[in-house]
Symmetry: C2
Subunit: 174 residues, 2 copies
DNA sequence: CTTTTCCGGACCAATTTCGTCCGGTTCAAT
DNA sequence: ATTGAACCGGACGAAATTGGTCCGGAAAAG
């Protein structure tokens, strides 16, 4: 009854992408560093997202991934289903298999309703929403180590950006 | 993102129990036959339900399981959590583990909402509701074979009980 | 004391999850 | 043209989970 890590990482990776200007091309490695995701795994996940048209890939040097659409037009449901396939809380609800019970099935009716609710939440939440709420672990750590480089004596009060936008490398360093 | 068979079988087994007068003691084997559940597996599942106080067990000859409470006072959520442990759509939401992200986490907020919806559906649905909706495969098959025993020439129009109560062995045979 | 039935732990096979790895392809820059 | 950077995609594999089975034991009834 849990989402897979793949879907989890997919969402996180996309928020990292969405934090940037639309269309900016970013390497897998950079995204992984920001969100604490195993490197080669995110590669696989982004392939699925690319096939689903959520992300565009560019090969060769200077290549990487970029968002294919505006973050406010990508729903969590799309992301998750692109990675895991259609959501189905129970066997009965598998679209092509169907329920093996003859007349009525206690499980079908119960899980169908729950599944609808879940899909409703997921389809109402956009990547923009998610990005707004999210503070990536990786970026926070990076900021912290940069800060302690600057004032090596300061032990605790390293001030972290806590709300709103998080400064990217380009702006925050020097 | 799917419920386990254990939980599935647990719900089905309980509907079989709930179809009978409250307190009636039924053997595992009978329940399995009615709902098409592997025999020894349901044993395991019923142990959990017994520990959770949903079902009472009686050992020895004439023993078996009986519902501990009125079907309308047992929720689907109780049943499922008795078998699978607390529902958690995502790691962040594991009660004791918690979320490893520092400030805000896109995943927490998303899945917390979805999870609440699911739990709401499950806790609003009672065993009585489920039993009312359900027509067990096993019983239908049993009825069919009994009927074709009686009229071996009748190929198709074997009339099956389709809605409402389903006659149990005791009443339907002879 | 024998039979019946659940208890509960050990065990096992299959599947899924969570990745890694590597050769191939594409693209840019030299 | 060559080189290096980066994704593509399939194969591979270890670990965890799922979906059960099995068996010796305990308890209850006759």
């Amino acid at each position: 009854m849990q989402i897979t890590r793949a879907a989890e990482y997919g969402v996180l990776g996309l928020t990292a992408l969405a934090r940037r200007p639309l269309g900016e091309v970013v390497m897998i490695e950079t995204l992984c560093a920001e969100e604490d995701i195993p490197n080669s795994f995110l590669g696989k996940i982004l392939q699925s997202l690319s096939k689903a048209g959520i992300v565009k890939s560019a090969r060769g040097s200077g290549g990487g991934f970029s968002l294919a659409r505006n973050p406010s037009e990508v729903t969590a449901l799309e992301i998750i289903e692109a990675i895991e396939g259609p959501i189905s809380l129970q066997r009965c609800l598998d679209e092509d298999l169907g329920c093996e019970h003859s007349g009525g099935c206690a499980l079908c009716s119960l899980f169908a309703e729950a599944q609808e609710r879940v899909k409703e939440v997921f389809s109402r939440t956009t990547l923009a929403d998610l990005t707004g709420r999210h503070i990536p672990n990786g970026l926070v750590r990076q900021a912290r180590s940069r800060a302690s480089d600057a004032h090596p004596a300061t032990p605790h009060p390293t001030p972290l950006p806590v709300a709103g936008r998080i400064p990217l490398e380009a702006e925050s360093t020097r």
